[in-house]
Symmetry: C5
């Protein structure tokens, strides 16, 4: 907690436009690779210094410049200013708390969004992704290595689909689409988690952590919601947008993307309702169990307390207790007790207590 806090406080009082990396992956190496392509041609390069990425601003083929390692703020500032990005945009690239948004400038479009995945410990990870659509390039900034873009790289290399022939705005769309497609996967995993938790509610064991588990699920779904919901507005803006960098052909694909985000949002809302319902379910299972416990206690106590009382009566030491003298007194009493016992059980049976 302390670490997270300091990362936020780090920016307090700074001049706006100051580039500060806010995030936990502070030791990622800078990694830059470029895919240069057009219909007929493709070239893939791994760059060593940020300056190597400068020329692509005015080369003719479409260039996809991917930069990993947001903690290397100096490099990001350098390339940002070379590509003439506004200081506030450069700040947003490094600020991992930035919510999904779109900013249109004259020469480029900036899109911030979130890549979501469950890490190896089953914790939800939120990675900040920034995309810049420029004249003939797309730049993508990631916090760290590992992404959902491999299928796109594959399609580019193998010339599968339209991606090689459709220009840089289609590439932007493809990257966003890959991220959004991955949300469905996430929703699927969340669905399984919810079902597992639901099943374990009716399980007789291991109930103590369920409240905590439900609260954790709540937090996860709210995190996902926060990452996905603002994206609707972002893509809607792109769909309607009339920025010259967006071609009409790509609009249809963006509309499809918008549709997918709406669908994800609906699924998230559905799961949210389900998770909120879990608490009520859990409360009712607890109450049911307590009811069971109480019934056992009540049956036992109600059956034996009166019998014990009767035994107590004949354990008294009065001088003159005629029953005690009867030759069959003891057996008669035993009989009476058994009758009471059976009567009680019959009563509870009729009341459906067991």
């Amino acid at each position: 907690m302390g670490k997270k806090k300091s990362s936020i406080i780090k920016t307090l009082g700074l001049s706006p436009g100051t580039v500060v990396y806010i995030g936990s992956k502070t030791d990622s190496d800078l990694y830059i690779n470029v895919l240069d392509f057009n219909q007929d041609f493709i070239e893939e390069k791994e760059l060593n210094t940020i300056e190597d990425a400068f020329p692509f601003i005015d080369t003719d083929p479409v260039s996809w410049i991917n930069i990993n390692g947001l903690n290397n703020t100096e490099a990001i500032e350098k390339i940002g200013s070379h590509y003439q990005l506004h200081p506030l945009i450069i700040e947003d690239i490094a600020n991992t708390h930035q919510r999904p948004k779109i900013e249109e400038y004259e020469h480029y479009i900036f899109v911030a969004l979130k890549m979501l995945y469950f890490d190896t410990n089953e914790n939800l990870s939120v990675e900040h992704i920034s995309l810049i659509l420029g004249n003939n390039y797309v730049m993508s900034f990631q916090e760290t290595e590992g992404d959902v873009f491999d299928p796109i790289r594959e399609r580019l290399r193998t010339k599968k689909g339209r991606i090689r022939s459709m220009g840089n705005d289609y590439l932007l769309y493809s990257l966003m689409d890959a991220i959004v497609d991955n949300y469905f996967n996430l929703i699927e995993i969340m669905g399984e988690k919810i079902e597992n938790l639901e099943d374990s509610l009716f399980d007789h064991e291991s109930n103590t952590e369920i409240t905590q588990d439900i609260q954790d699920l709540k937090k996860e779904i709210l995190k996902i919601r926060r990452a996905v919901f603002p994206l609707r507005e972002v893509v809607n803006h792109l769909v309607k947008g009339e920025h010259p960098l967006l071609t009409e052909k790509t609009q249809l694909y963006l509309r499809d993307l918008y549709d997918h985000i709406i669908q994800t949002s609906e699924n998230i809302e559905l799961q949210r309702e389900m998770i909120w319902g879990l608490m009520d379910m859990y409360m009712s299972t607890i109450s049911n169990k307590m009811n069971e416990v109480m019934k056992v206690l009540t049956i036992i106590a109600t059956v034996f307390i009166p019998l014990t009382f009767i035994a107590g009566i004949y354990g008294m030491n009065f001088k003159y207790m005629p029953e005690l003298e009867y030759p069959y007194g003891y057996f008669i009493l035993l009989g009476v007790m058994i009758l009471i016992f059976i009567g009680m059980l019959f009563y509870f049976k009729r009341k459906k207590w067991f």
Copy 2:
């Protein structure tokens, strides 16, 4: 679960516009039939190959081409490209997770919606239906056999109503209307389920699965909601729409259809409120029952514990206990105990405990 998951993941990383069947009915045979009609004429054909459905694109009478078996993606791609549908539309036809939507293109209108029914195991089934309104044809795509269109076929054959004389947009309306009409049926069944569950809350038996039943009802109503609510927007779009394929005469009918969907939506919301209320009701019945149990225990314990104590007193073995020597001590004590017993019962009676 595993199967469902893999079906989603199957599409991850694919190029947009790739036609993949996402759904559980993977072994349906391709079944194509065509109804060709105008005011004076009707012809019904069952086709063997998808290519047989190609000519209807430019025949003069209205053609209703119905295709069952979305898992036959190849056939769907073939007919889609012959009828010049956009690749994204073909993808949407096969994608059973696609939410209800409408897409207007220059030469055709695409409508996706959901057919809902309870299957033989009383489980809610959601079937993805796609409708294409073209120049002089309507195409309908279904996941599998069995639909709610038989009355329309009947009306077409017998020339009942306006359907033979009103053109292909009216046919589109009729198909949508048949699906929406069926929602009322569904709502009716849901209503019965809710009432049954409500009744069983006050039943003394079989309570353990009620929490699960309520949760199941919640899921069903949310599923229905997800299928029906987006349809409002779809039909509203059609009502307002000015696509040349929609004639003014049909607008009135579409408005009526819109009305029906609103009504369905209201019923769904009502049922939702009812179902959410069930959990509260259930909790209060559990609490009431526990109250009853506790009262029984308390009455028994409160009546007999003091009496047992008294019996215990006179069971002590002190040398000098004068009461024990009284000739009528035993009978006096029995009298006192009976008085205490009656007093206790009287007290509980006054407190309305039984």
Copy 3:
């Protein structure tokens, strides 16, 4: 239930515009009466056949044609087609599940709304009313006899107020106003029901049906809401509407009517909140009562169990138990027990348990 279900299913698969009566009052006799009036003149007629109602379409004075008995669908179809109503409108007149709505056609305006009242068994009844405002007539369709229009008839006969001089649109307004005024009455009765239920929560008796009563109130208020809320839009449409049949003078009255509906809606929302709160109140009274029960049990058990133990000690048969031999042992022990008893009571008193 079965009956209601079949009534819905009855319409499944029918051609749109087919007139089917959906409702439970299937044996009402057809009853038609006409009030013909202008400023100086009034005539009241009871008609025998539907054909007798045909001439009023082009007579000069304002005619109010009231038709009871929606189950006589044939008659309704006849008059509907004579008055040139659209088939969908005629269907809506007979369809008692139709939600409140307004439809403007060139020559007439159609308004559907609901008359609400509590029947003799205190059950909420919803009656479907359809109003047609034509050139110089108003037609009203009711499911069965008995309505809230008597005061209007009286005002017409006695020339009280503006109704005789203001034309047919004012008559339409008056009919709607009478129905809406009656809602206030309904709200009043609902208010009493809620207060009664609230009072009975704190009552010590008859608690078992309260959960059911609350659920019933919920259903009633939701039914009312469903009948009233869409009416806001309907009247708002009339207020803004520029249909030539609506005169400017009547607009003011319609605005007033709109105001009344808003007020009713607010009251409904208020009552809804109150009813939803009842469940919480009920839960807390149950819990309070259980608390009381538990306290009684705990006090009795806590006081007597230790005393019984002590008595048990001296009921043991050990050979050497010196206390038993003391001449005053018994009396000392009784004293000790009384001290413990008083001490326990004092402890619970201080804990405010009684």
Copy 4:
């Protein structure tokens, strides 16, 4: 209740525009007073008959005509028709159930709003106030004597502030402002009530009426909400309004008034959330207390029941029970019992039960 009901039913079936007083203060005397003023001049008169109020319609100075006693419907009708108010407006003046609203006519503006105060029994009173802004007059109608306008009268008399120089629209604003200012006072008292109730939740005494108190608070806040919320729209209408009677100078003040109403609304919503939260808090305190009670019972029972059992063992009358013969058997057993006792207490201590 009966009385309130009849007051509503009294209007059922009446012709619209019929002036009926609906309210509980049916015996207020008619009281009319007039304040005539301009920059240099002020005159204050108490009038005896309603006819005395007629001349002010065309006198030159601004006249504030205040009329108390809405139950005197005849007088209200007389002055209303003299001042050429629409019959529906006159009806709204007398109808105390009328929600806050604004109506603009050509020659005057009508504003209805609510004066709220806690009466001497701490009950929330809602008084219906109607204001008419005419050419050079403001008329105010109150149900009964006693209002929040005294400071305005004082400012008028002493020429403090702008009120004497700003015209009749500023007077209207001032009257509304006085009413809205008083809402803050109300909110303050509600706040205290909520805090008191909150404190008493944690009190050990007097819990039985808390549920009722919370429900009462709910009703009060909902009543206040219903009186205040529609006022937002009313004032917003005035702020935007372009009625010639409203001068531009006063707009700024109306905007300020709007701001105050928004602030009141926000406070109301806040208090509403707090009150709704009280029920949850109360439930958790009940549960906590029950937990305490259960712990006491469990500790006592768990400690003494096994001990009593052991004592019971040695109270048996078997011929051959070797322990009974041991010379120190009794003392050994007492020791064992004390050990068990201490062990039990230690166990509960470790479980943090006391």
Copy 5:
């Protein structure tokens, strides 16, 4: 409470535009300091009298006039009227209950907002800040000393960032940005509080104040919400605004500020959901604990009550009880009891009760 109340009532009945300080910091000294700067020049002055602040209205460099001590209403009125602020604005400056708002006048823009911080007792403090953007000055009014503007002063002095070169509208933005940046800090602390409370729910100790703690958190988050949410509208107004005092260059920064406020709002909503969930969690932990307690009681009672009964049987004093005579009767019975004991434990083990 009394004090707070009187502070509100103090203003009741006052003429609008009367400057009254409403707040608790009534003894702050008046403190005025001025920062005069342009690109090349900076001068910092502490002023003694309010009149010393008068000349800056028409000096050429940008002047930031900061005034602490809102309780000095006279001084505020003086400077307000010298700078030609509208009386209502001057009232709003002193009224600490004023919600965040923006007012645009011809020659200046007024912005009211809230500075939030946790004071030394961990209580949430809300300080009312007013900002005036005039021709070449920015005035800021604070209730008392201590603010979040020190970094801005530093940047001004050291010429860091753009602040010296961007004019007075950028200064206004910077002040607002500093306040909003501080909100993130607040959210962070709230997050920690929530997590701490969540952890302590599962703690076995110190549960009695948790309900109170949750209610306190609710109040705090609602307070924060009330301070932050209206700010969205304020900044949105600035972003869209076309007041001549706002330059285009600053718009981008304001948009960024807007973004930060949206992000804060989302975080607040998230925390609100979390806090509301805490009560449910707490209830379920209470229920779980009660369940544990009940299980212990039930196990003990169920095991020992039947055994005690059996011992009671053989404690009876009947003359003829054959078992008592058996030489091994006692040992056999002990064996039977041990068997019953083990059987009971086995039963509870199987039921997973411990």
